[in-house]
């Protein structure tokens, strides 16, 4: 394990690995096929504390460093990318509260997660993907409540989360400065969910539309000041990017592990195929990519822990991690040959799982916009 982590985290990692090996890996193979949501598995993960990982210590969290947590999440992603996505998306749903919420809100969110609940972040709309600022969901003040109307789409943990952080326009004439962030609990009246998407990969995670039809929430549910929602959302994504990189590294590591295990056993021309230099070099290249991606994530996460600027590094970790995950997954299938194309073998799933990591939480094209902005600055 190439993340440098505390003894505490090493100990926890053993338990996480045990749980992933015994429960996640096998069960998720079946759920990936059927598309059924593994509700019991996530309930168990919640009980074990997997949803509490990113809660700061002062609100009851385990007090691990971000890199410590990354080691645990990578292990989960190795076992099943969808499983890790659900856990990681819960962290994503928590971030707006931690970035801009009051202590009361933070504790409330933390309590939900410590009870084993999931969280979700609702920014994306049918008309607002990369162009996140053009969201149409709006919130109107009515007495001591806000009433939200609109539709969010592609929301991970939609329908399963205990709470949702939702962006909505409070002033439709102020552009992005008219967007606010809200803390919506699962039983808010007027909140409903679309059907779950039938996805190419990460099929053990639930993804659906989150619908607001005169959805009423208390005024106190606004996170941060009115009009700061977009800023909070962007700060959320800046952080989240590194975590996407972390999960991507898990997928890539799994791809390489499977390829090596297979290549040692598969005999052609009288020898294991990993005797062939062409394939050995493929493994070397995979390892170079994986370790580099991992260390980029570690760097970005350490900057975050240190309170230093990290947005560019986080974006790099996301782009590079997801790109190499896709490369490594494809390469693993190649090494498996014909068998790699068969669903009975574990690697075709990795291609299907890896693809989304180049798309969600800011497409890799948007990441390049972010990175180049950081480098070039204003012209």
């Amino acid at each position: 394990m190439a993340y440098i982590i505390s003894d505490e985290a090493k100990d926890l990692l053993k338990d996480v690995k045990n749980f992933c090996d015994n429960e996640v890996l096998e069960q998720c193979k079946g759920f990936d096929r059927t598309g059924e949501y593994p509700a019991d598995l996530f309930a168990q993960a919640g009980e074990l504390g997997f949803t509490s990982l990113e809660i700061p210590e002062e609100f009851g969290g385990p007090g691990l460093s971000r890199v410590d947590t990354a080691a645990l999440l990578e292990e989960m992603a190795r076992a099943d990318a969808g499983f890790a996505t659900v856990i990681s998306a819960t962290g994503l749903g928590l971030k707006p509260v931690l970035i801009a919420g009051s202590d009361e809100q933070k504790q409330r969110a933390a309590d939900f997660l410590m009870e084993g609940g999931l969280a979700a972040f609702c920014l994306t709309e049918p008309g607002a993907g990369s162009d996140a600022g053009s969201g149409k969901t709006y919130a109107v003040r009515d007495g001591d409540e806000y009433v939200i109307n609109g539709r969010k789409c592609f929301i991970t943990n939609g329908g399963h989360a205990r709470f949702y952080c939702v962006t909505a326009m409070t002033d439709r004439n102020a552009g992005v400065k008219g967007m606010s962030m809200f803390f919506v609990e699962k039983d808010a009246p007027g909140l409903s969910f679309g059907d779950h998407e039938d996805k190419m990969g990460i099929r053990t995670s639930g993804t659906c539309d989150v619908v607001f039809e005169d959805c009423r929430i208390p005024v106190s549910a606004m996170i941060g000041e009115e009009g700061t929602g977009f800023e909070t959302a962007m700060k959320t994504l800046d952080q989240a990017r590194a975590w996407v990189g972390v999960l991507s590294v898990g997928i890539a590591q799994r791809a390489m592990d499977e390829a090596v295990a297979y290549g040692r056993e598969r005999v052609q021309f009288g020898a294991p195929i990993l005797k062939q230099q062409a394939l050995r070099f493929k493994i070397a290249d995979m390892q170079i990519k994986i370790e580099t991606a991992r260390q980029m994530c570690a760097y970005a996460l350490n900057l975050m822990d240190a309170g230093e600027p990290f947005a560019k590094e986080s974006a790099i970790a996301k782009v590079y991690g997801s790109d190499i995950a896709n490369e490594c997954a494809a390469e693993a299938v190649q090494i498996f040959g014909g068998y790699g194309y068969i669903r009975d073998y574990p690697v075709e799933k990795l291609i299907r799982d890896a693809k989304i990591f180049q798309i969600f939480e800011g497409t890799n094209e948007i990441q390049r916009v972010v990175i180049s902005n950081h480098v070039i600055g204003r012209l």
């Binding site: 505490e8 100990d11 926890l12 045990n18 504390g49 509490s52 990982l53 385990p62 007090g63």
Partner: protein
């Protein structure tokens, strides 16, 4: 109810342990140390038992060394409230009677120090390394209390302990006086996983370390010298002759080929 769960740290039982020809000893190198499976069942049963609303705590104990603290810590993360390692080179080479004697001394000493007597002393029915299953029954004899083996469930009814004892074709419900020694078989559920919270809390919990002197264990009853049995030799079981492997593209052909061989060998 005060429950003592005795555990043993053993090599990972999912790893095949074979004889190291060089040393003449078991080659346990690749196998990580874990808590003996049957002991984890005992601990889980004890935890569930108390969770039905019975006041009391679980203490775990093991005879080992510094590395055994890891196993005790793992037990503290899944239901135990107190943990001890009996660590003293005087115990090295003890047979089951020496082990049971040491545990008896420790139980009495802890009872003396805490002022609370144990109602149940719970062991796994056997360990995955030696599989002799002697320690529990010997401990019962030395503590002078009742013994029920092959336990898969516990229940309290009006202050009396009822345990479910697995039998070859079903089960018995056995009423037992306390204090008692129970040995655990496999219940129909898995032991719980530690939560992140419980694991981190367990790391902070103190683990008592006891020497032979601390528990008033007489040196002439422990260790290799006091052992009533002696190992003469370890050997690998004779290997069967390698057989014929049939691998055809057409499974029907393979099956028929095998069948013909079986009729030729006159086994059918």
């Amino acid at each position: 109810m005060e429950i003592m769960v005795c555990i043993k740290q053993v090599p990972d039982d999912s790893v095949k342990i074979e004889l190291d020809e060089g040393t003449g000893k078991p080659a346990a190198g690749r196998a990580e140390p874990i808590v003996n499976a049957f002991d984890t069942y005992a601990l889980e049963m004890a935890a569930r038992f108390l969770e039905t609303g019975i006041a009391g705590e679980i203490t775990t104990i093991t005879i080992g060394d510094e590395s055994s603290k890891g196993s005790i810590k793992n037990c503290l993360a899944v239901g135990a409230s107190h943990g001890y390692v009996i660590n003293d080179e005087l115990f090295e080479g003890s047979d089951a009677q020496g082990t049971a004697y040491a545990l008896r001394c420790a139980v009495r000493k802890i009872e003396q120090d805490t002022g609370r007597d144990f109602d149940i002393v719970f062991c796994g029915i056997e360990t995955s390394d030696e599989t002799s299953g002697q320690t529990g029954p010997m401990l019962a004899e030395m503590l002078g209390c009742s013994l029920v083996t092959n336990v898969v469930a516990l229940e309290e009814k009006d202050g009396v302990l009822h345990v479910k004892q697995e039998t070859e074709d079903g089960y018995n419900i056995v009423e037992t006086a306390m204090p008692c020694v129970l040995t655990a078989a496999r219940p129909n559920y898995d032991p719980r996983y530690p939560t992140i919270k419980s694991k981190m809390a367990a790391r902070k919990m103190p683990i008592g370390e006891l020497s032979a002197a601390d528990i008033d264990a007489s040196p002439d009853r422990i260790g290799a010298g006091a052992s009533l049995v002696r190992t003469i030799e370890l050997s690998a079981p004779p290997k069967r002759q390698a057989g014929i492997i049939i691998k055809e593209d057409d499974i029907e052909e393979a099956a028929l080929k095998a069948f013909r061989m079986m009729t030729d060998a006159n086994v059918l």
